[in-house]
Symmetry: none
Subunit: 401 residues, 2 copies
Amino acid sequence: MDFEFLKKLIVPAQTKIVMLIMDGLGGLPLEPGGKTELETAHTPSLDKLAALSMLGLSQPAGPGITVGSGPGHLAIFGYDPIENEIGRGALEALGVNFELYPDDVAARGNFCSVDENGLLTDRRAGRLPTEECAKLVELLGNIKVDGAEFFLRPIKEHRVAFVMRSPEACDALSNTDPLKIGVADLPVRALKREAEPAAEYVNQFVDQARQVLKGQSPANMILLRGFAKLPELPKFKDLFGLNAAAIAVNGMYRGVSRLAGMTVLDVRGDTPADEFATLEKYLSEFDFFYIHIKKTDTYGEKGDFSGKVRAIEEVDTLMPRLLALNPDVVIVSGDHSSPAVMKSHSWHPVPMLLYSKLVRPDGIAEFGERACARGSLGIIPATNIMPLALANAGRIKKYGA
Amino acid sequence: MDFEFLKKLIVPAQTKIVMLIMDGLGGLPLEPGGKTELETAHTPSLDKLAALSMLGLSQPAGPGITVGSGPGHLAIFGYDPIENEIGRGALEALGVNFELYPDDVAARGNFCSVDENGLLTDRRAGRLPTEECAKLVELLGNIKVDGAEFFLRPIKEHRVAFVMRSPEACDALSNTDPLKIGVADLPVRALKREAEPAAEYVNQFVDQARQVLKGQSPANMILLRGFAKLPELPKFKDLFGLNAAAIAVNGMYRGVSRLAGMTVLDVRGDTPADEFATLEKYLSEFDFFYIHIKKTDTYGEKGDFSGKVRAIEEVDTLMPRLLALNPDVVIVSGDHSSPAVMKSHSWHPVPMLLYSKLVRPDGIAEFGERACARGSLGIIPATNIMPLALANAGRIKKYGA
């Protein structure tokens, strides 16, 4: 979708769009001739909605391409996930709700263990408890380097988000993490001339961290990798004219939504029911709601077919609450497939349902991969979902006379 | 598909992909309400495989575009056939297994008959026997021109492949063949300034050929057309990480495969059974096999509906041999359609079947145009076939986190 073209056609409206994303929704049968997770799940509410909807399958980054959650979400939000690559460090910082600025360079940090010669003995410091991690982060908070500011946030166990803020910030930096044990950590190298000051600041930080952490156990050093600034994305408000809100429990999804300019809502609790309650609470305040359900992917990646089936069924039982709010447009889909049988993300197109009073319903009273394959939307790039949602919400005016 | 993007995601694997191409596979019914050639053919093995596969239709160069075998094959091999035009002269040389180099300009040559005034009386010299053609080629082998080398190879009857090798080679050259009789052959003109030396060399060759052939009968002159250098294509190994082999009897298909960096295997004999025997023999040595069946197109172009049906049935009887080899991915399709009722290539989308243990099977136990139109692959650009095959072969890693 050409944003410059689309932007000119956007008009205001009083309509509401709800995009319900079950992470890793698409699946595969356990055995030839069998049903997928979604086809197996008992989903009377989704099936009823399907009958009034258009069905189809979406591909986040083209045929055969398996995506991570970052690019998968960019695509369903309408952004080309290949043009807009998000570096891992930036995703990590977004994931803990750190508000990244254009001058920030983020990285993935690991607390690790080194021996008396500075050689790595454990890249994860025995996966130390998260509270320990938080204490070490506090110790490193006192490090001062001229020309740059540093921010660290504990994530989980040994993992931390690292952010350097400086007018000279540049993310063309090599990793300090050698990705193996028995060797020392590496100095940061500038991969471009203009990254030289940034490399110098990070190296000064690492040298001070080495001193500060000396004597700690088991974590007595920190490794950094995946240095990345944010890609610059046009915001939902500017692009689509939407006051958008995100309802997600996990950090990464909250982070990607913020990148798109969504207001990330606080969810009381962490169940799908809590997320639906958040939608009910904030309904009047926004035009667009993205709701993220994590469990479907978690079970898919674990290879737990019936767990994924149950997670889908749980969402189905909540659908009447969503529909009772009378949203003008409802999208139910995923950001990618995660078949339990593969225990991983996969390239398979993702089932999707698009409901509004203005769709031509396919009249297929079933929400599943093969039902969607028969749907009139066909197999579409996931970046087409937003323009279709906007049109059905009366938010795109006629092009030409 | 963006090759630079795809290349970064390619990972090694121990999997095998077999791409079985029946040339001109797609067809049309003889009369309204009838069945196509493929639908008419009794194909129990293909139907059984179809039930476990995804079905769809492929388009080599977009809607409504009828392609020749060159572009049709480039597309199924993953190369954009519009961006990568192969000139006819280059295809002709490749077709006789002449190893073209980047500095070579190839052309299609015809021995012809001229009268005492040099005016053409027969552009094909009565389709002289191929052995006569070979003798004339030998005579022309002695021509010397400063700055360039010349190579000629007999093809069939009056047809020869012509190659000029020179550091100043350029293919922006006009034809000497006026494409009609009663006129003289034309001097070669440079169509760009940088082609001027090449035009001069070819004209010197033609002038000498005129002297050498004087007195021969019926062929006493040579016409050249379709001057072309090779397009540069990235090779299967570099692009897809595949050690690829081609099993084809006809020169053109052997040539196009070589262009893609495939090893062109020797086939003992020229029947489909001989080609399948070649697959069996070399199975362990390559990751990817392209098998080309010519007869389907030959009968299609002749307008022999039942001949094409029989050719498809012959391939069907060989399918158990292919499947006994347990390839991880099997593609069965064509490079374009050649409906017998049209006696020519056509633009109709080409039926295709994609089998692997990881597809979501459509459960349609039939391989035919209309069965494929109901398949979940939809109508896809033929250039999507390779990414899908690679994904199903576990050869594309996840993009992003």
